[in-house]
């Protein structure tokens, strides 16, 4: 699992590559700290190359969403596969984020 974070004008772009399973989530929670620090900004989660997510990954998405709510930022998610979209839908997470 790789996380690439870049800043474009007022937007922070996070590109997620690989599998966000329980094993990868531990490292991801450390790697995503810059996103938590930038939770007052517009964050774009590019999930085009995200192959898999489990509940431990969803938990981190929710933690970041909560942070943007308290700091006044936003999260937009793009490029999710139909399988990952189904996971967001089944868990009620789909309505917690903006999808493009």
């Amino acid at each position: 699992m790789t996380l690439e974070i870049t800043q474009k004008e007022d937007q922070v772009v996070a590109k997620l590559i690989g599998r966000l399973d329980t094993a990868a989530s531990q490292q991801f929670s450390i790697d995503m700290q810059p996103l938590m620090d930038n939770a007052d900004k517009k964050i774009l989660m590019d999930c085009t190359d995200l192959d898999f997510i489990s509940s431990s990954g969803l938990r981190l998405f929710l933690a970041l969403r909560k942070e943007t709510i308290s700091k006044g930022g936003s999260i937009t998610i793009k490029g999710v596969s139909p399988e990952i979209k189904q996971v967001f839908t089944i868990t009620g997470f789909y309505s917690l984020f903006i999808f493009e």
């Binding site: 898999f52 909560k66 996971v87 009620g92």
Partner: protein
């Protein structure tokens, strides 16, 4: 179809994923089916890894199939725990009100056709049936 033995260490989750991939090839499953099995079995296994044992312990996963259904039996020798009794999370809550966590067993139930628990000879035995499309 070989059985899989995992230690109660989440670092071994990729071994489970590799096992499911192989199973998918063997049984001719499509990508969404492999994804769903990966997710459901990971959630069930991680639950045992995180909560069943005080120290080190093992998880045994066996599989059989009759073509239409795939039957998974997950066993551990940890403390007694019936995941079928876990209360569903409220998935209608806003992000502010949603609790972090509590989705694992819910996801197993969503993707498996059925999930049954028994306690046998000091073991937790979780039988999960997946229905092929």
């Amino acid at each position: 179809m070989e059985n899989l033995i995992l230690h109660n260490d989440v670092a071994e989750v990729p071994m489970l994923a590799a096992w499911v991939e192989e199973l998918g090839e063997e049984l001719g499953l499509d990508m969404p089916e492999v994804f769903q099995l990966n997710l459901a079995l990971e959630e069930a296994a991680v639950n045992v890894m995180n909560y069943a044992y005080e120290g080190e312990g093992l998880i045994k996963l066996s599989v059989s199939s009759n073509g239409q259904e795939i039957v998974f039996v997950m066993e551990d020798e940890g403390k007694e725990f019936d995941p079928t009794k876990v209360k569903d999370p409220d998935i209608t809550l806003s992000a502010e009100k949603r609790e972090i966590g509590g989705l694992g067993i819910f996801l197993v139930q969503q993707f498996m056709e059925s999930m049954a628990y028994s306690r046998k000879d000091g073991k937790n035995v979780l039988t999960m049936i997946y229905k092929k499309k």
